[in-house]
């Protein structure tokens, strides 16, 4: 019997933003596997035109409700590099800590609220509150810890307040940092609970070779700035981000697509891990090993495991950063600066992958041109090709329509796409 199948997922759930999935099989052959981003565009690059450069981070943080700190810091880095402003060490250390908090919050949200229901066959996290109370509690403790770190370092977890061009507007309170230090130590147990649970799940056995792109600085697991590298051996400076992205428009998609050496590439936790495995904390490497995750892994579902590994990395990095801040005089926190004409890129590793903001300023300190390239944009082509390969694989294995639909949803969610971000 020749197989017919049509899957139309309108506004995929448990992702940030609006996108549809279309799969079509005729006479046993896959004829369409389409990832259609239908999110409303907001036109941030247009909004930025003519704006005072110091306002840019307050605007661009509003690109995303989940990774607002990454956007603020990408803009700040672009403006500072364009105007040759050098922020004090205390500010740079505080910013790095803010990044740890944001990624922990984002990863916890994905692991427990968005991904766990897929593995447990529920429609959301809500039924898990009763069926898996320890797991949900662990998730909330980690998410809360992430938000607390962000609030202590950025003034607020969503849409940061104190991250400004030149440094930070207010130093983190040392007593609060000391409390956070204890909190991080205590909550390592929650991460252990979470990882024990995730180890009981069967991660779908699927892989499709692709190119992984991330930042790299050669000495620490990447966060703010560095060289842009790919697993196919491409290395570029931050300002050459366009050569790394080759962004293009596609009909019927409000999100753009990118490519490098192949027809698609991937950014995000698995890309970071694949490209920077040696720089992970030994405890984070242990976590990866316990899931048999080793570079290069080409299984997109391993993004979920990579998030857990990164949570370990974050807890140890955050501890070290707090130790450094507690040892510092937090007096010099902002460099005074005057407007200058220039152009530069600020690249950061947002929770979902490398994020680029490029800003061009004039002598009056106004932004004359801006460009933002979002991690999810860089994953669009990869998501679509994964959908195709996944559907073909599932067809061969004789999976039912419902099973194919579920696997397609899961593979997309493994990227934790931030669709409103990608459209911006």
């Amino acid at each position: 019997m020749k197989r017919e199948c049509r899957i139309d997922i309108h506004h995929l759930t448990r992702v940030e933003g609006h996108a549809n999935i279309h799969i079509s099989v005729r006479d046993g052959q896959l004829v369409e596997a389409n990832w259609a981003v239908v999110e409303t565009p907001r036109f941030f690059e247009v909004m930025l035109k003519g704006m005072s450069a110091e306002m840019a981070p307050f605007l661009t943080s509003r690109i995303c409700g989940i990774c607002s700190i990454s956007h603020a810091l990408a803009s700040i880095r672009a403006v500072e590099r364009a105007m040759e402003i050098h922020p004090p060490v205390a500010a740079e250390t505080t910013r790095l800590l803010a990044m740890q908090g944001e990624t922990l919050q984002s990863h916890a949200l994905h692991l427990f609220f968005l991904a766990a229901p897929d593995f447990l066959g529920t429609t959301s996290v809500l039924p898990l509150i009763d069926s898996h109370p320890d797991l949900v509690r662990a998730g909330l403790l980690l998410k809360e810890l992430g938000n607390e770190i962000s609030s202590a370092t950025a003034g607020r977890s969503t849409h940061p307040v104190t991250l400004v061009v030149g440094g930070i507007s207010k130093a983190p309170d040392k007593a609060r940092l000391a409390e956070l230090y204890t909190m991080i130590h205590e909550r390592k147990a929650a991460l252990e609970t979470a990882s024990s649970f995730f180890r009981t799940l069967s991660i779908p056995d699927f892989s499709r070779a692709t190119e992984f792109i991330s930042l790299s600085n050669g000495s620490t697991y990447p966060s703010i700035g560095g060289k842009i590298i790919s697993s196919d051996g491409v290395i570029k400076e931050e300002n050459d981000y366009l050569l790394m992205t080759n962004e293009y428009c596609r009909e019927n998609s409000t999100s753009k697509f990118t490519r490098l050496s192949r027809t698609s590439s991937a950014a995000g936790p698995l890309a970071r891990l694949n490209n920077n495995y040696q720089l992970l904390h030994p405890k984070a490497q242990e976590m990866a090993a316990s899931f048999s995750l080793r570079p290069l892994s080409h299984n997109p579902f391993m993004n979920t495991v990579a998030r857990l590994v990164e949570c370990v990395e974050i807890l140890y990095t955050a501890e070290a950063l707090i130790e450094r801040l507690l040892d510092m005089e937090l007096r010099e926190i902002k460099t005074s600066w005057s407007p200058k004409a220039g152009a530069a890129t600020g690249a950061v590793e947002a929770p979902r992958g490398v994020l680029y903001h490029h800003m061009e300023t004039n002598r009056a300190g106004k932004i004359v041109k801006a460009d933002c390239i979002i991690p999810t944009t860089q994953n669009n082509a990869n998501i679509e090709l994964d959908l195709r390969a996944m559907a073909e694989d599932a067809l061969k294995k004789g999976k039912t329509d419902r099973e194919i639909e579920r696997l397609c949803e899961m593979v997309v969610r493994s990227y934790d796409p931030c669709i409103s971000c990608s459209v911006h």
């Binding site: 759930t13 565009p41 704006m51 509003r62 409700g65 938000n147 849409h159 207010k170």
Partner: protein, 254 residues
């Protein structure tokens, strides 16, 4: 020990997002320590960002985002037909928010600039009340979860709901902050509705007015203060226009 002495009807609620960053919806999942209790108040019928469940029998609709495409207008009207209470949730829904900054340019200029010639539909940004009747507005970029919790309790118990009528300055003073005008900054605290616990000014960053005008706004006195402190009209306009929240109060004097 947890005890339940009396039960209320849970709120049949649905959450929808339009032109926005979804950060206000995300706040619903924050304040993790009170989250299980908060969820006890709600019977979530639709909330795409966290759940596959999709039911049409909701009473309360949270609308996040501004409106900038024709399909959004249609979706919003359909929600209005179903919901007994429509809540404009966050600054974008209440005032248009930062998205309104694009209204300085014609739609085709926007789409040309970003999509290099590819036709992409976009309309001038509007707030929710420009299209349907709004029963309650909860401003904030993002909304403040404590305030959302208080309002949900009041909805469950059928009590009166009112936002603070005083300006951000009141809460800023309560935190013993030095006034940002004294530190040489132009701050919208004196004319902006409080209720945010002065989170920005406490972080030594000027208020940009995301919660909109305070009840007894004295714009003339504020503009006089701005002139007296020698801030340029351009600087003032940039701040007042950031969230489009003072549209109604902007005469020729700025």
């Amino acid at each position: 020990m947890k005890q339940t002495l009396y039960t209320f009807e849970k709120l049949k609620i649905a959450s929808f997002d339009f032109t926005c960053c979804e950060g206000c919806q995300l706040q619903l999942t924050n304040r993790e320590s009170s989250l299980p209790d908060f969820l006890e108040l709600l019977d979530i019928r639709t909330f795409r960002e966290i759940s596959d469940e999709h039911h049409q029998d909701y009473d309360i609709a949270l609308i996040e985002g501004s409106i900038s495409r024709s399909d959004e207008v249609e979706r919003l009207r359909a929600i209005r037909k179903q919901a007994k209470v429509v809540i404009a949730f966050g600054t974008c829904a209440c005032f248009g928010g930062i998205n309104s900054l694009k209204n300085r340019f014609p739609p085709e200029v926007c789409s040309n600039e970003v999509y290099s010639g590819m036709a992409v539909e976009t309309l001038p940004v509007r707030k929710v009340s420009d299209i349907v009747t709004v029963d309650l507005s909860i401003p904030g970029c993002p909304v403040t979860k404590e305030e959302v919790e208080r309002i949900m309790v009041r909805l469950v118990t059928g009590s009166q709901i009112a936002l603070p009528s005083y300006p951000v300055c009141v809460e800023c003073k309560q935190q013993l902050n030095t006034c940002l005008f004294e530190l040489g900054e132009l701050c919208l605290g004196p004319i902006t509705r409080g209720g945010c616990n002065a989170v920005c000014t406490t972080g030594k960053t000027p208020c940009l007015g995301c919660r909109g005008a305070t009840e007894e706004i004295n714009m003339a006195a504020f503009l006089e203060l701005v002139r007296h402190r020698k801030f340029s009209p351009e600087e003032c306009r940039e701040k007042l226009g950031f969230y489009n929240a003072f549209e109604a109060f902007l005469g020729h004097e700025t």
